[in-house]
């Protein structure tokens, strides 16, 4: 079975600083990778996804992620965060043979002035 590891439960950063949220997944022949964001009292919103092609994926709100097959990682980055980026971020994986997502535990990004 697939598993997703988000090592950091909480990442505090100052506004305008860069941030990286880490995600590692268990290996599989074919995977699709996703990052979701959950703002307070809201549902899960898709930030970006990797299905195939270029390993650098750009998403909404200035976020990007890089698929690294050899390290089985899909870390999320943003060069300069805003207060409004404060939210919980979930990495998820779907293997090529199923239609269900396996999520990580989430990383709470706390941006302060």
């Amino acid at each position: 079975a697939q598993s997703v590891t988000q090592l950091d439960s909480q990442v505090p950063v100052f506004e305008e600083a860069p941030v990286e949220l880490r995600c590692n997944y268990s290996s599989s022949v074919s995977v699709y990778l996703f990052w979701y964001v959950q703002y307070p009292n809201q549902g899960l919103q898709l930030l970006l996804k990797y299905l195939s092609g270029s390993t650098l994926v750009k998403g909404i709100n200035g976020f990007e992620a890089e698929f690294n097959k050899s390290q089985t990682s899909f870390h999320l980055r943003k060069p300069s965060v805003h207060i409004s980026d404060t939210a919980e971020y979930f990495c998820a994986v779907m293997d090529g043979y199923r239609s269900t997502l396996t999520f990580g535990k989430g990383t709470m990004l706390l941006v302060s002035p």
Partner: protein, 114 residues
């Protein structure tokens, strides 16, 4: 942008009671899902539903759980006899295709079993 709607946003119930969580998926979507998140834990898959039948379910989705699409627009999750450990945030999701390339989630129903 279209959205998945879930009601109620909060549900409090007594242990052993039946609860029904309701979802209105996006109108042209064909695949429907329930996920849940126990506080402090991962978001977990419960069940997927397509063409009026369950297509996949996890080991969490035991005989106490059932899903239904009663009227072509609503998608419900029923827990027959709630347990304390059923307390969680329940998310409904829908997608146009099986591949979940664009999966839309609702804002969730927080279920508290006392």
């Amino acid at each position: 942008e279209p959205e998945v709607t879930q009601t109620p946003s909060h549900q409090v119930t007594q242990m052993g009671q039946e609860v029904i969580l309701r979802c209105v998926p996006i109108s042209n979507h064909l695949y429907f899902y329930w996920y849940r998140q126990i506080l402090g834990q991962k978001v977990e898959f419960l069940v997927s539903f397509y063409n009026n039948e369950i297509s996949e379910k996890s080991e969490i989705f035991d005989d106490q759980f059932s899903v239904e699409r009663p009227d072509g627009s609503n998608f419900t999750l029923k827990i027959r006899s709630t347990k304390l450990e059923d307390s969680a945030m329940y998310f409904c999701a829908s997608s146009e295709t099986r591949r979940n390339e664009k999966l839309f989630f609702g804002s969730g129903t927080q279920l508290s079993v006392l």
